[in-house]
Symmetry: D2
Subunit: 147 residues, 4 copies
Amino acid sequence: MTAGESGIVESDWADSTDITVNWGDMDSLGHVNHSVFARWMETSRMKFFSDIGIMNLYESSNIGPILAKIEVDYKAPVIFPDVVNCKTSVSRIGRSSFDMAYVIRSSNQENKIVAVGKVVCVLIDYTSGKPVEIPDTLRKSILGIKE
Amino acid sequence: MTAGESGIVESDWADSTDITVNWGDMDSLGHVNHSVFARWMETSRMKFFSDIGIMNLYESSNIGPILAKIEVDYKAPVIFPDVVNCKTSVSRIGRSSFDMAYVIRSSNQENKIVAVGKVVCVLIDYTSGKPVEIPDTLRKSILGIKE
Amino acid sequence: MTAGESGIVESDWADSTDITVNWGDMDSLGHVNHSVFARWMETSRMKFFSDIGIMNLYESSNIGPILAKIEVDYKAPVIFPDVVNCKTSVSRIGRSSFDMAYVIRSSNQENKIVAVGKVVCVLIDYTSGKPVEIPDTLRKSILGIKE
Amino acid sequence: MTAGESGIVESDWADSTDITVNWGDMDSLGHVNHSVFARWMETSRMKFFSDIGIMNLYESSNIGPILAKIEVDYKAPVIFPDVVNCKTSVSRIGRSSFDMAYVIRSSNQENKIVAVGKVVCVLIDYTSGKPVEIPDTLRKSILGIKE
């Protein structure tokens, strides 16, 4: 997957978050550790989840998303100090699962793309542990359909 | 505070935990980041809390400990690969608060002490946010008094 | 990719590392944060890199591996306290890149597989930033060929 | 130590850094893990070190600071999403060591102080491992004396 392959045009990203790089995010190779990129994607994802009310659903019905899979393609190293920008959008929606695409840019490197990523989320009933169909209201929120 | 000043003899530590050092725990200076030592102390503390039933109290009554203060004295750097050993004990118990002492050793450095630490915990009612007196049962558990 | 698809039989894993779960590895959903699995894979990978002398190559010639891509499939949550086991092996070797497969098991869950993963590494000249052909000596080490 | 006891007036802080809270900074108690506060202090410290040229000294002469001790007093929990502000200044300078004071505020809590901290740094010769006297040029930089 490349940034282009995400098929998402700039104006269509559902969330855009600026995140400060901490000095301690760097590992002994002198650049930000690869696992930190996954945390940045998560921060953007959780903001989106909050926006579309998925966390409210979890609290009221014990139905919520789990992360089934993550993929990250590293394009360029990130070095402290920097502020990265992480954008995310739902790139596919199925019966009980959906994919999200991510692009991370470095403000210190003229907004160059430093990584692109993808996750697969599955909506499950935390009581039974089984996948459940995405409710219509949530589906509309995910797709950005205003009523 | 030094290890000696903790006043705790080897046999009296309430918890002893071996913890694997991850490569990513090292920062760009090539040794384990200072904040990771605080995580190791926490792992040992949480094992102790589980042992004395403090987490059960939290779940049944919404009364639980908060960390009010931490101090860590760094004695020697830790480098991957290594397994550290972290020991902890309650070193002071008051009306609603208690102190815990810590000592961390490196197995790759012949069990040399790499850090000593101390925390202050306060028992609070999570509903009111106010400190509460440590219940007698918990006090006895903390002091290791078997009935 | 599933664990089975890795095509690696139990005896053929090149590195096997037991890693202590820290309490602070858990996030606010009450299980180990997904990014920590990537750190465990890295710990196993760095042990393997050290074993085959790839870090010596980096120090003597400024040629070393970069992580181009990571994929993790999450199979089951991990909860503190636990000790996980992470195994890795090279699953493909090309001209200047190679893939590594991973399997992570939970000792508290009867060694159940909690995640499988894959990374793509590229050998680059850190001076030019360009990929370089994997030297024969390193290739033999990676393939486990003893001379 | 309280924020007031730091004896540093608002205009005299040497570094002020805004840091984005990541969702994954929260632990299973639902607020930012205590060890993350130490990382924020480090980010502010490293920016200050860069400003006063201490990292250049390290690269040119192998003389640099080590962290000998850290203390953090926790005043209030931090919850995602938030942006914290961390300020630091040198609060004492000795022959080969110096102290730094820290104050951390939450922008989501009307800039309320959520923690205050202190570290002791020692300047050492990384070759011999021994403390060295703080050079006059560095001393002047630390004290903010412009020539």
